[in-house]
């Protein structure tokens, strides 16, 4: 187990990267603490897999360094650095039994027969593969195969981290929940550092203590699921995390308030002060969960024509127009929504201002 530091990591798949877009990863610096359960969240093509492959050593970064416990491993092969990785599609050794599959990484590293067996049985127990240990791996279902893949990742007790590259994509929806919970349990039990790549926010939120959000080859936020929800550090985090995503509207600042189109929205003094000094394109962001429906004429409320109301069972989504912009509010099912005009209120403590997409907080 180890602390993993990434220093100024950049990677381009083209030979002569010129523009910013040529880079799959761009000047990424961050630290993965020992023993953490991390989710690496981002849309397809944001560099998640590249980052994972650089940590495991399958890909050598164009520039920058990877440190395991302070030791530079950037140029080491995966075999030489102590790391495990589980891939999106199950990889099993067809001709081997399940037990041999699980034992393979240990045998390759010269473990004795007795310790290998003990460890394999331990892992099989956790993953509920004990009954299949003596069967050939090739005959099993896709789910079981992926469990074997995961087992091979978890079987070495001394790895710096176990990297999961969207390992549950091929798995049946119901089993996904079970396996994800299993992984959490394994994390608690084996005290391994886990890094889990996914583009599914629910998966990321349920699995991880810390979520790393990537966008366009950069890490835009590292935080707990609650941080991502309440304090998105980047408009992308606001938009990507949460359903529906954050309301984002271009705005300007006028004397302690944000002005969207013609509408003044009050800000808390700190935010207003930082926003007043900020340069660049300003965006106001507020999550639909925090937008309130007020009585007509209530202070600071903004009358907005309602476009539609969707009842999603346990909550409603109200879509209203604010000048040119569309605002969504997520309100409880019981809340009465008057047809025609909604009086929206934007609580200052939840209203955030972004300058060039980055939070001013």
């Amino acid at each position: 187990m180890a602390k993993i530091d990434l220093v100024e990591l950049s990677h381009a798949y083209t030979a002569n990267p010129q523009r910013r877009e040529d880079y799959a990863l761009h000047k990424l610096t961050m630290t993965w603490e020992d023993g953490g359960a991390y989710a690496l969240l981002g849309p397809s093509g944001c560099g998640k897999t590249t980052l994972l492959n650089i940590i495991s050593g399958l890909v050598k970064p164009s520039t920058g360094r990877v440190l395991f416990n302070g030791q530079d491993v950037t140029l080491l092969h995966p075999q030489q650095r102590n790391i495990a990785q589980v891939f999106q599609f199950p990889v099993i050794y067809d001709t081997m039994t399940v037990a041999d599959n699980l034992a393979f990484p240990l045998r390759n590293r010269g473990w004795g027969a007795a310790e290998t067996r003990k460890r394999v049985e331990e892992i099989a127990e956790i993953l509920e593969l004990t009954g299949d240990l003596k069967n050939r791996a090739s005959g099993l279902s896709a789910d079981a195969k992926q469990k074997i893949s995961m087992g091979r990742g978890l079987v070495r007790p001394d790895v710096a981290a176990v990297l999961f590259d969207e390992p549950l994509t091929t798995i049946d929806q119901h089993l996904k929940w079970t396996l994800r919970r299993k992984l959490k349990q394994i994390h608690a039990q084996l005290k391994l550092s886990l890094i889990y790549v996914t583009h599914d926010q629910v998966e990321a939120m349920t699995f991880a203590d810390k979520v790393v959000v990537m966008y366009g080859g950069e890490v835009v936020q590292l935080g707990s699921p609650q941080d991502l929800f309440e304090q998105p550090a980047h408009t992308f985090v606001g938009f990507f995390v949460g359903s529906p995503g954050m309301n984002l509207m271009p705005c300007r600042i006028e004397g302690g308030s944000a002005v969207v189109g013609e509408v003044r929205i009050p800000l808390d003094p700190g935010t207003a002060q930082r926003a007043g000094q900020a340069a660049g394109k300003l965006t106001l962001g507020i999550r639909p969960e925090f937008v309130e429906l007020a009585r007509p004429g209530a202070p600071d409320s903004v009358p907005s024509p309602i476009e539609r109301v969707e009842d999603l069972g346990n909550y409603k989504i109200v879509t209203a127009r604010l000048g040119e912009q569309v605002v969504m509010a997520k309100v409880s099912e019981d809340e009465a929504v008057s047809s025609g005009t909604a009086h929206l209120r934007f609580p200052p403590q939840w209203t955030r201002i972004y300058a060039d997409d980055r939070s001013l907080a």
Partner: protein, 291 residues
């Protein structure tokens, strides 16, 4: 469930029967005809039962040809399959180098069989052939027209040169079909190059190798043109394989009855071997008890 009996259903399989009849059964029947009759003239034939079969099966020359044939096929399979895999593994994976090496590799496959025989016939000659001359110059006495061992080596090397590319191309295609994730996982698992070959590549290649093995077995077991051009079956009978022996019987001596009987036996042997190979390879690594 009620069983519906309707003989008109046979009409549905009729097209298949007709096709198979014309493509296989009717041509084969002519051979069967000859094998059980002594045909002396257009209207003069005698039914002889299994006489030709008995005669052929007791033919000492045929026994020898069969032994030579099995030895030859075994040798070229033992060389071409591993060599083909080794070449496929060594070939570049992408870029112009890959295309170039594939084209160069495939060249022997594009040469007509007769020409292959002629090429090696000249190539191996001690007086004007490059290979023959060089080998002799190295102090090794090599003359494939006089020495049975030299003739054998020449025939085997010729076949290896001619057909290993086929095995290599098949294996190459099989290797390219293995997803990258397998190699990545193997790297992470700390697998050696040998382990990657043994536990990933070889199992994944099983299908194409089965095809390569069957193709090479059938072709080599029926080999005719190249040795006929190269050595004419000699020196003596030392490189006379089954097809050539059959040709001598049918065309040379015009013993059509025994030749037909032998043809059927020949066909059955090929069929049997293919069946055995296929079954064995289908089961390899499957029915093996768990350790």
């Amino acid at each position: 469930m009620q069983k519906i009996q309707d003989n008109r259903a046979w009409l549905l399989v009729l097209p298949v029967f007709v096709t198979v009849a014309f493509s296989a059964i009717i041509p084969l029947m002519t051979v069967v005809n000859y094998s059980v009759q002594d045909i002396l003239g257009p209207d003069n034939r005698v039914f002889v039962g299994t006489e030709w079969f008995t005669e052929v099966l007791q033919d000492e020359d045929l026994h020898n040809a069969l032994v030579r044939q099995i030895m030859f096929s075994a040798m070229i399979l033992a060389i071409e399959i591993p060599l083909g895999i080794a070449i496929a593994r060594a070939l570049p994976v992408k870029g112009w180098r890959a295309s170039l090496s594939l084209v160069v590799l495939a060249l022997p496959l594009l040469i007509p069989w007769n020409v292959v025989g002629t090429i090696w016939q000249i190539f191996g000659r001690g007086d004007i052939g490059l290979a023959g001359y060089v080998v002799n110059a190295l102090g090794i006495d090599y003359n494939y027209t006089a020495d049975p061992l030299a003739a054998w080596i020449t025939v085997v090397v010729m076949d290896v040169w001619h057909w290993t590319p086929l095995v290599a191309l098949l294996a190459y295609a099989g290797l390219r079909a293995i997803p990258d994730a397998y190699y990545q996982a193997a790297q992470i698992d700390g697998a050696s190059t040998w382990a990657v070959f043994r536990y990933i590549q070889l199992p994944k290649l099983r299908g194409v190798l089965l095809i390569a093995l069957l193709l090479r077995f059938m072709d080599s077991f029926m080999i005719y043109t190249e040795p006929f051009v190269l050595t004419g079956g000699g020196p003596g009978n030392s490189t006379t394989f089954l097809s050539q022996y059959l040709a001598t019987l049918a065309v040379g001596q015009f013993d059509l009855g025994p030749a037909a009987a032998f043809s059927i036996i020949y066909f059955l042997i090929v069929l049997l071997f293919c069946f055995v190979f296929y079954t064995a390879l289908q089961n390899v690594g499957r029915s093996r008890p768990a350790s």
